[in-house]
Amino acid sequence: MSAPNSSYDPVQVTDLQPEEIDAARDTALTEIAAAGDLDALADVRTRQVAGRGAPLVLARRELGALPPQARADAGKRLNAATRAVTEAYEARLAVLTEERDARVLVDEAVDVTVPAGRSPRGARHPLSAVVDRVSDVFVAMGYEVAEGPEAEHGWYNFDALNTPADHPSRELQDTLYLEPTASQVVLRTQTSPVQVRSLLDRPLPVYVICPGRVFRADTVDATHLPVFSQVEGLAIDEGLTMADLRGTLDAFAAGLFADVRGGSLRTRLRPHFFPFTEPSAEVDLQCFGCGGDPADPGCRICSGEGWIEWGGCGMVDPAVLTACGVDPERYTGFAFGMGLERTAMALHNIRDIRELIDGDVRFALAFAGAGEL
């Protein structure tokens, strides 16, 4: 290298002496290594690594005073020393940061088992929840959900359902009438009038379920309510038979109790009588407590019977079809219905039916999901 700086005086700069650089580097490295925490390290950085007064920084400012050849040599030495110090600093910084972070996480530990239920807990009523469930099962089969009035004319509740004019179910001790009784408006005793309305309103074929509240002149006690929930189904089509009814009831049971005993519960029919179906049957459901096959003699739900009474069903009586303008020679169909209270009571071990209509939040919140309060 030759002479562009030849005009410079060959000044000796003390800071840039090799020994000085090495000494400054070693001091810095020692202090970096000795820094016990991030604050100390920051202090070291100011004094030894990057601050204006740091020896290596000061030395770099002196570089320009050196003649070219000396400057290059000093520059190399200085760069090497600075790199060593910076690397040591970065490494130390990483170590101390990690230590600090770890300490903070330890310091910030809390008792996560402390209850933290700030948001209020709510729940669906078990009966309305099961109505939704039933609706889903049947909607999946292609049914629609039909609805009708709770205060209903007697023609829909009785006449159209083939109930004889003098049938005891029409009497005041069984059925609640609205004033004036001459208008024959009753609180529906079953959701079957919705079936009648469905047949009158909808084009054939009809596949509907009718969930809803129904009313009987029963005084309230541990096993009776004057108001309870029912779900009925109706299918009217060409070629429907009792075999289709059996299949539908089994599918209903499997769907509604899909998470009980692997969805294996089946139904059976027992002959019975209803004015609006012929043939008629009662439906028994395999016990969801013990499975019923074989029955557990000590089962609290079925008392060892293996079956629990579930509801009524049958082939829709030709008289009902006629009253709704459906040709019974061409169309057949089935209907079924079950009360939901007893199922809910057995499923959830509810001992007193009055709890269903009492409105106590403790009852409701039992359905708010598992976990401590």
Partner: protein, 837 residues
């Protein structure tokens, strides 16, 4: 219906055990409720003879020390020889030396009445004697409820035999549920016939007795053929009224649930239970003139067997003689012609009365009886003369009577009708085929006469099957007897459905959203007391006063149907608070009822022979009250719970209003909140909820806010309960389905805060509306972040953060400032707002 197994076994020889019978009957539609074992615990009861009676004196009541012989030979299971007389202390006095009585030996454990635990018998000291056993009443033996004295057995009862064998014990009683279409099964005859079919065993019809040829008997006239299709009268004389029913008969009646009263009455009951024919026994000597069956005349009365004087009405069917009514047909006999201890001549009535007539009268008089139950369901009209003959024979056999060689049978029975059953009908309804021979065989088993033709069966049902009128009725019988379990299982393929309707989905979202928001869903009874409207402070003309009334309420003080969900929630909240749960958040989704103005006259009720016309159906619907579905919530106490994080938050009016907004949001209805004054809310803290329809029309669908302090204290709730109620149907009818997504802008927003001073009574909602209108279409959001009341008298300050954003550019500061100024001007013009300095 209680049926006795041994009785059935007499009619169906080879009958299996009771449990097997029960299963078979359940499958055959006569549902088994329970099986009771009867006559257990009688192992150490034997028949003894009263040998000597010593009357003990000096006690408060008569006490006897009785020597009883129990015959020769050892008693089974007893170490004591039976040959020695044993002394027994007894408090009853209805027996004499020579009588045969049941003797419970020491070691016996008697069953006790009604299956209750009875007493263990041992030799013991009492009344100064050693009582070596006990002589028993019916009740102590668990075979009846007669406890008036010792059960005295017939004099020919062998001494020393086990008592159980005397009365046919042990036995089983099956309690069956009989549906209203199967009146024939309210008898051992009917049940036994079903069992014969079920087990393919011969059935010995107890009504199959030879009728004697008789000359014309007691004069009988049927004046009302619609009420009485047949009347048979038979007479016996020389009845020894001292004779009581033989123990096996009394015991059988007891097992079937009827008390032994007297031989004549017991015989009629035995025929009723055995054959299903209700009979009535008149004291023949108390009759005067011909028996006439007719409707009652206005003003007529009768004193019935229970001693009650009954007023009769014109639809009541009565049995009369020259003295007037002597029995209410099929319901209850009269006192004036009752069979008593002095009766020697008896007229047995065996008749067939109209079901509807009997049912109405029994119900009107509150006199349901074993007889009326059977007539209501229909009694076999062919049975009457046979039942009378069976009764006469029993009175002759047991009561020493002699049958008079006369009899009356007025028979107006209509000939049976025939039902045509197409061959394929069973398969069409059931889904499996039944060969014609199977169909014929099953129908014949029921007692039908069957004729097979080319296309089907011509079936004449038996006289006791009133329910077999149409092909479907016969199909049920074939399917039932072949077994419902033989019906295949098949799933029909329904046409594709449309799923839940938007309203149904909306209701479900509402219920779920309320639960998620911390409300406990409740279902309450819809019956309310008449003073609820007053307690709520509703004005006189409030539509919620139009409560439909229940004509026959379950409780006199709860005869109105709810017109609002709030009273139920108030009462439920009060129950919770009184049970120590002060923080309550309840929600109910349910129907409320609003009476419509009454029509001038009730509409004509359509028939059922065809579909009613649209006008007829509309007329029926017009009779119904309005029945909208409402949703309501009620909060008292804390809305957010207290805990280590802080004191929680007490529910206030805003929680009620916010719940309405939440529900509108989840279903997608545009809801505006305006201040209002409506009972039962606090007049200064009540919002009306206004839904906007797709056509822009507005409708008030409900209210929310803090409840009126008077209402809160009326229900004894803690102060400041809040509530919301809205018409869910109306809200769901206004779902805004045409959701348009605004362009999602990538450009930054520009925020400006404005603090406006307005009159204290100026609703914030109006200020916000004015700001929005003035802020132009680029306004993205408005947030009220501060309300400051202490600004000056009659004024308050509302601080808003307004945010603008454009879809296509970054807004300039000048632009935004201009928009802010326009918004503030709009608020100033419409609400008198001024910028807070």
């Amino acid at each position: 219906m209680r049926v006795v197994h041994s009785w059935l076994a007499e009619l169906v020889p080879g009958l299996p055990d009771a449990a097997t019978c029960g299963d078979a009957l359940t499958r055959a539609s006569l549902k088994l409720e329970t099986v009771e074992r009867a006559g257990e615990g009688l192992e150490d009861v034997v028949v003894g003879e009263v040998l000597d009676i010593e009357e003990l004196t000096g006690f408060k009541k008569p006490i006897r020390f009785v020597q009883v012989g129990t015959g020769a030979g050892p008693i089974s299971g007893s170490p004591i020889s039976g040959s020695q007389p044993r002394g027994i202390v007894c408090g009853a006095t209805n027996f004499a030396v020579g009588d045969r009585v049941p003797v419970a030996l020491p070691g016996a454990e008697l069953p006790g009445p009604d299956g209750k635990p009875g007493s263990a018998i041992s030799a013991r000291q009492t009344y100064g004697r050693t009582s070596d056993g006990m002589i028993c009443s019916s009740r102590e033996l668990g075979i009846g409820d007669d406890h008036r004295g010792i059960l005295v057995l017939p004099p020919d009862t062998p001494i020393g035999v086990e008592f159980a064998t005397v009365i046919g014990m042990p036995d089983n009683v099956l309690d069956l549920e009989i549906t209203s279409d199967r009146g024939y099964a309210l008898s051992h005859r009917g049940v036994a016939r079903e069992l014969g079919i079920a087990f393919d065993l011969p059935f010995l019809d107890p009504a199959d007795v030879d009728l004697p040829s008789l000359s014309e008997g007691y004069p009988v006239r049927i004046d009302d053929p619609s009420g009485c299709s047949r009347y048979v009268a038979r007479t016996v004389s020389g009845l020894d009224s001292a004779i009581t029913s033989p123990p096996p008969l009394a015991s059988r009646l007891a097992l079937a649930g009827m008390r032994s009263i007297s031989l004549a009455v017991d015989v009629t009951n035995a025929v009723l239970l055995g054959l299903g024919q209700p009979l009535h026994a008149f004291d023949l000597d108390k009759l005067s003139g011909a028996i006439v069956v007719r409707r009652a005349r206005p003003g007529e009365t009768i004193v019935t067997l229970d001693g009650e004087k009954r007023n009769l009405v014109a639809e009541d069917l009565v049995i009369t003689d020259d003295s007037g009514p002597i029995a209410i047909a099929g319901v209850m006999g009269g006192a004036s012609t009752e069979v008593t201890a002095s009766t020697t001549r008896v007229l047995i009535e065996s008749a067939c009365f109209d079901p509807v007539s009997v049912a109405r009268t029994a119900r009107r008089l509150g006199l349901p009886s074993e007889a009326s139950r059977r007539f209501e369901r229909g009694v076999d009209p062919a049975l009457a003369p046979f039942a009378a003959e069976v009764a006469v024979r029993m009175l002759v056999d047991f009561g020493g009577a002699s049958a008079e060689r006369v009899g009356t049978d007025v028979d107006l029975t209509a000939p049976p009708t025939t039902v045509g059953l197409p061959l394929a009908e069973a398969e069409r309804l059931i889904g499996r085929g039944y060969p014609v021979e199977v169909q014929r065989h099953r129908l014949e088993q029921l007692g039908c006469a069957v004729e097979v033709t080319g296309t089907g069966l011509r079936v004449t049902p038996p006289t006791w099957r009133f329910d077999l009128e149409r092909p479907a009725d016969l199909v049920e019988e074939i399917a039932r007897l072949e077994g419902y379990e033989t019906i295949p299982v098949r799933l029909p393929r329904a046409p594709a459905g449309r799923g839940l309707t938007p309203a149904q989905r909306g209701r479900r979202r509402v219920a779920d959203a309320l639960a998620d928001a911390g409300f406990a869903e409740v279902l309450l009874l819809p019956f309310l007391a008449g003073d609820v409207a007053d307690r709520l402070g509703l004005p006189a003309d409030d539509e919620r006063r139009a409560a439909p009334r229940v004509a026959n309420p379950l409780a006199e003080d709860e005869r109105e149907l709810r017109t609002t969900l709030l009273p139920g929630l108030l009462a439920a909240a009060a129950r919770n608070v009184s049970r120590g749960n002060p923080d309550v958040a309840l929600a109910e989704v349910g129907t409320v009822f609003r009476a419509r103005p009454p029509a001038d006259h009730a509409p004509e009720v359509p028939g059922v022979a065809q579909r009613p016309t649209a006008a007829q159906l509309a007329a029926l619907d017009a009779t119904l009250p309005d029945q909208p579905r409402h949703v309501a919530v009620l909060l008292t106490g804390r809305r957010e719970p207290a805990g280590w994080w802080g004191p929680g938050r007490v529910a206030d009016w805003s929680d009620a209003v916010e719940t309405a907004r939440l529900l509108a949001r989840v279903v997608g209805t545009r809801l505006t909140v305006r201040s209002a004054q409506t009972a039962p809310w606090h007049p200064g803290r009540c919002a009306e909820l206004v839904a906007t329809g797709s056509d822009g029309s507005e409708r008030v669908i409900g209210h929310a806010g803090e409840l009126h302090p008077r209402v809160v204290s009326e229900w004894e709730l803690p102060p400041r309960a809040v509530a919301m109620e809205l018409d869910l149907d109306q809200m769901l009818a206004r779902i805004d389905t045409a959701v348009e997504v605004p362009p999602v802008s990538p450009y930054p927003p520009a925020d400006r805060d404005v603090a406006l001073v307005v009159a204290a009574e100026m609703p914030a909602g109006q200020v916000i509306a004015a700001l929005r209108d003035g802020a132009g279409p680029l306004l993205e959001s408005t947030r009220l972040f501060d309300v400051y009341d202490r600004i000056g008298p009659g004024e308050r300050s509302l601080a808003f953060r307004l945010r603008w954003r454009a879809a296509d550019r970054t807004l300039t500061a000048e632009e935004v400032n201009e928009l802010r100024d326009t918004a503030v001007r709009a608020a100033a013009e419409r609400t008198g707002a001024r910028l807070r300095s």
